[in-house]
């Protein structure tokens, strides 16, 4: 064996390490890329869900001093309760696990059947495991006189539309 071969061996080892590094880098990065793609694939980009802004009829549909459940949009229309005269909209989706609390007129509160959360007329939690109060939705009146609810915009409990 000549001196050149020995030197070549030394060079080969570094070259081998170099290729080993790039081999592993290639395998791992392609695995990571595939995994990222697969996870990203599971997040849909287009949703065919109802709009979060919708109309729920005219203020005159809701008599004074009542709490009305609107099934299709999963909210309560509160009119003239808690000393506030106007119409206010509160979510009917329990902040705990998403069940629908029931309005109990006699006790002036909402009670959730799933895990026993209770909300007072301000939407605040007064019993049970719910972590947050029921949100009040931002509400406006459209030119045609109908109530427009924006269920992505939360407001304070005293936010109202005058009737």
């Amino acid at each position: 064996m000549s001196e050149k071969d020995v030197k070549g061996d030394v060079n080969n080892i570094t070259r081998r390490k170099f290729f080993l590094f790039f081999g592993w880098f290639g395998i791992l990065s392609s695995l990571a890329g595939s995994a990222f793609g697969a996870v990203r694939f599971m997040f849909p980009n287009v949703l065919y869900e109802p709009s979060t802004t919708f109309k729920i009829g005219k203020p005159s549909d809701y008599p004074p001093n009542t709490v009305t459940f609107v099934q299709d949009n999963r909210l309560f229309v509160v009119r003239g309760k808690d000393g506030i005269e106007g119409i206010r909209i509160i979510s009917s989706i329990c902040t705990h696990m998403g069940c629908t609390p029931k309005w109990v007129e006699a006790k002036n509160q909402w009670e959730c059947p799933c895990h026993g959360s209770v909300f007072n007329i301000k939407g605040e939690v007064i019993a049970g495991p719910a972590p947050k109060p029921l949100p009040w939705y931002k509400t406006t009146v459209a030119p045609d006189g109908k109530i427009v609810v924006d269920s992505k915009n939360y407001v304070k409990p005293d936010y109202q539309i005058k009737v």
């Binding site: 996870v39 599971m42 997040f43 849909p44 949703l47 869900e49 696990m97 998403g98 069940c99 799933c114």
Partner: protein, 247 residues
């Protein structure tokens, strides 16, 4: 072997049978071991087992019962798939059809539902048996871990399964599960994306149903089947079912 004119001889002593089962009827040690080693499905078990293994009072057959329920669930589940369509408009009506319009449909659905309840119970009982007999200890600690994972898989299979009829139970269970996952901290980042990926959107609906369906009929059963295979194989590799030390 000399030919005798009996029905058994006609059935078992011909070229076709011999091509499938290459050994004689297992009535001596050699053919008994061949019966086990030459069969793909039996060879996961050893040729000989300790007498403690076949003592009914020791294992109570709990693990095997769980496995049998899994087999029954797989077969009935595949049959149910022929009539069930995972669509929020049709799923509930398909349940009613299975009950009233499909021959023996209700029996298959009952077998599948009660079998699932039984599997949850028996996997749990099996875990208790293994713990109370000390079977989880070295060298079986890895197999014990696989067993725990199989228990959780069983629970997830049940969960994804009872969502499919799209009745009130199903809808509110999906809703609760989705919101529960959504509380993983940090809620606004991890919880929200986990909820989005599980529900397949913001509201519980068609996307959620098809996701749970795919998990229930292929992803989870496949993972469970593989792990069950490993679980059985490890029993052998860890020296058979646990037994008292011999003097």
């Amino acid at each position: 072997m000399k030919k005798k004119n009996t029905i058994a001889d006609l059935l078992f002593n011909n070229r076709f049978w011999k091509s499938v089962f290459r050994h004689d009827y297992p009535d001596n040690d050699l053919s008994r071991s061949e019966a086990m080693t030459s069969n793909l499905f039996l060879h996961i078990q050893s040729v000989k087992v300790h007498t403690n293994t076949i003592r009914p009072g020791y294992t109570l057959g709990l693990g095997l019962i769980s496995f049998y329920l899994f087999i029954i669930l797989t077969i009935t589940g595949v049959l149910l798939m022929f009539y069930y369509i995972p669509s929020i408009e049709r799923a509930y009506n398909d349940m009613k059809d299975l009950e009233f319009a499909v021959s023996y449909g209700i029996i298959l659905r009952n077998l599948h539902r009660w079998g699932a309840h039984g599997m949850v119970a028996f996997v749990f009982f099996h875990m208790c048996r293994v713990f109370y007999t000390g079977g989880y200890k070295q060298p079986r600690e890895f197999n014990w871990g696989i067993g725990i994972v199989l228990l959780i898989l069983t629970l997830f299979l049940s969960l994804t399964g009872y969502l499919l009829p799209w009745d009130q139970l199903a809808f509110w269970a999906i809703t609760i599960v989705a919101n529960l996952i959504g509380t993983s901290p940090p809620e606004s980042i991890l919880g929200a994306s986990l909820r989005y990926i599980v529900v397949g959107g913001r509201e519980v609906g068609q996307n959620a149903l098809i996701r749970f369906y795919v998990m229930h009929v292929i992803v989870l059963p496949l993972v469970a089947a593989v792990l069950i295979g490993v679980h059985f194989w490890r029993i052998r590799k860890d020296g058979g079912i646990s037994r008292p030390a011999e003097e």
